[in-house]
Point group: C2
Chain length 404, copies 2
């Protein structure tokens, strides 16, 4: 008799978790001739390669027995001190090093947020469009999402108020600075209003600040945490200011919540790579970080301006694009009824990749929208890619049912 084929049984969360759309898309875009605006990679020319190479050798050679051994869950104290001091200097927030937990990048911070707060069926409020990585991280804990439309100056306040009062979400997650995917930065007024509703309804805010340092226009606006320190879980990342491959970020949270994070972090992976924590701490203390970050923001500013100019030169006027003040993305919307998946297919045939907006919507919609990344292509390729995309947009909008 033949042995019956093994039937695998998984937890119910595996049914509701979206397969990574980006991952499938990015596979298409791996050809070297592809001009990809689809991914979300920082510009690797700006990684401090030589500095990190020397530091890595010195750290391992000099402190290897400590920097390679098991370590504490909370993280390397000098690194936590730097983060607290940075918050003080730039955001005028009173943060203690003890408030910081080192994580494996923002993505793990979001996973830990889900683990600490979300039961199966818990209501979670999120921007619309919302960050795909957060949607994926939270989905593994099976929440019910409530989407808050994101406008040019921040979340829609009446909708947010209604959700907070009626649905009682376990938290509202957002990216006030240079949001991924939209590039939107919430205004000061919007931040104040969101904090007020959260205070009224005792709702936790999860403030993802992965792009706060990558601001090339305007001043630093006050974080939500500065209005409401005992209700905000703030996350940060070294991915955009040093390098993403090290997977290093952090959570800044009120003491009581932080203890919960430490408990789950320990059950999840004991602690983050301590060698990389030593390397980053040494880089931050020995090199002029502000000069380094200014080099990044100036470069991204140029890349962003180049993309905006190219869009003005070649996109149909009915395609709306925004003008981000920072970050790595801008957002474009075709007229209602158009499909950015169809545009994606046509663009890929011309060796240009965009990211269709659909996966950023937890409640459907976004069919006509797309995210464009400007940080990972040199300016000549940005111009050429946008030129080809403009041609395809003209052809598609003239005859949406043809080709592709």
């Amino acid at each position: 008799m033949l042995k019956a084929a093994m039937q695998y049984c998984y937890a119910t969360r595996m049914e509701t978790t979206p397969r990574s759309f980006i991952r499938e898309i990015l596979k298409v875009t791996e050809k070297p001739e592809m001009i990809s605006f689809a991914g979300g990679l920082p510009n690797p020319d700006l990684f401090p390669v030589e500095e990190l190479a020397e530091i890595a050798r010195d750290v391992i050679g000099g402190e290897g027995k400590k920097a390679l051994q098991y370590s504490t869950t909370e993280g390397h104290p000098p690194l936590r001190e730097w983060i607290a001091a940075r918050y003080k200097k730039y955001y005028h927030m009173d943060v203690s090093p003890e408030d910081i937990l080192i994580t494996n990048g923002s993505q793990q911070s979001l996973d830990l947020v889900g683990k600490v707060f979300i039961n199966q069926g818990s209501p979670v409020a999120i921007e619309r469009p919302g960050y795909l990585g957060a949607i994926q991280a939270f989905s593994l804990y099976e929440p019910r999402f409530h989407a808050v439309p994101l406008g040019a100056a921040g979340p829609d306040i009446p909708t947010l108020t209604g959700i907070m009062k009626k649905q009682r979400p376990v938290f509202f997650y957002g990216i006030p600075n240079s949001q991924n995917p939209s590039g939107v930065t919430w205004s000061q007024e919007s931040r104040r209003e969101v904090a007020e509703i959260a205070a009224d309804t005792q709702t936790i805010l999860v403030e993802d600040d992965a792009y706060g340092e990558i601001r090339f226009n305007g001043v630093h606006l006050p974080p939500l945490r500065s209005f409401l320190p005992d209700q905000v879980v703030m996350t940060g990342s070294f991915s955009k200011i040093i390098a993403p491959g090290l997977r290093m970020g952090w959570i800044c949270a009120p003491r009581e919540i932080r203890e919960q994070f430490v408990t789950v972090k320990q059950g999840t992976d004991l602690h983050s790579n301590i060698l990389s924590q030593h390397i980053i701490a040494r880089f931050l203390s020995e090199f002029p970080v502000d000069v380094h970050i200014r080099r990044i923001t100036e470069t991204y500013h140029r890349q962003c301006s180049c993309m905006i100019q190219a869009i003005q030169d070649s996109f149909p006027k009915c395609v709306a694009c925004n003008r981000p003040d920072g970050g790595m993305f801008l957002w474009a919307e075709m007229p209602e009824g158009c499909s950015s998946m169809k545009l994606f297919e046509r663009a890929v045939a011309r060796d240009v990749a965009i990211l269709p907006g659909v996966p950023f919507y937890t409640d459907g919609g976004g069919l006509n929208s797309m995210r464009l990344n400007f940080s990972n292509q040199p300016e000549d390729r940005i111009r050429e890619g946008i030129r080809r995309l403009g041609e395809e947009l003209h052809l598609y909008l003239e005859d949406p049912d043809h080709g592709g």
Copy 2:
């Protein structure tokens, strides 16, 4: 009016997750004069510090733009190739590099296992005593544990059979080689029997092989996976053979299950630190790894033999200790009715730390047992610590209610 204090609300899993007992204990043991057998640290004198320092500089200097950039969830291909080849060479298993997913050490592998398989209330079978890190990782997914007594040659087969047939656990988790905490290695016969019951009942086996390479007596026994490749999720780690601070391990799983792991790993932290993956892969390809591992096993063998000799010289005869063939721990049991927590308190007053056995039991019990780590103390301190512990044991067993 005073503002009402914020009431924090967490997911139900936070209520059932044990606060880390080890963590609290280890805080007591941090004084430099403390001779600690409580932790589970590898011997840092055996970290390949000089080699890793040079490799780290070369990798960042030579391939920094790749080794510091975002990377694939599955992991660095040369590292996955090395692991597959190693399985072939030592365990004669036919494993493809595609079967391997790189993780942040065994602890993350266990977290991902919980995420993929456990619903709230799912039955999970685990050894008794069982690995505390696994109990913590799985607890965050709120299973019901079913404990399978672990004897000197492996799990109790009648109990395991009953649990697999009646409770239908989503998996049975165990450490067949040099188990943590007990130091027990399952016999070949025991492995065969466990695989047979699992095949009969279509139960997934989670085979944690963190210590397989650290074997100083006897031959390599066949992994569970070699009997039942399509039902075994096997986990491995570089923590014991290279260094734990890098947080690098892996999962080897059947293709269909592996795809689930990749999906959850991506939502959890995108991918593991790619710089460390490059560094480890380079170390494994450029240096004689077998010589390095032999140095570790010979050292641990000496440390283990030293501890066993010291125990024979000074422990009361009614305290039963085992004689591990590998790993970093041995297991001791006082007569029924004794409390290893009381012994812990007395020992700490003499600057010696042990790990009481209680947290390794998911169903109570283990009150009279303790884990002793031999890998992280030099031999003279092992002798001195065991001598003091023997004195305290004699005093305690003569008059259990006195002192402490």
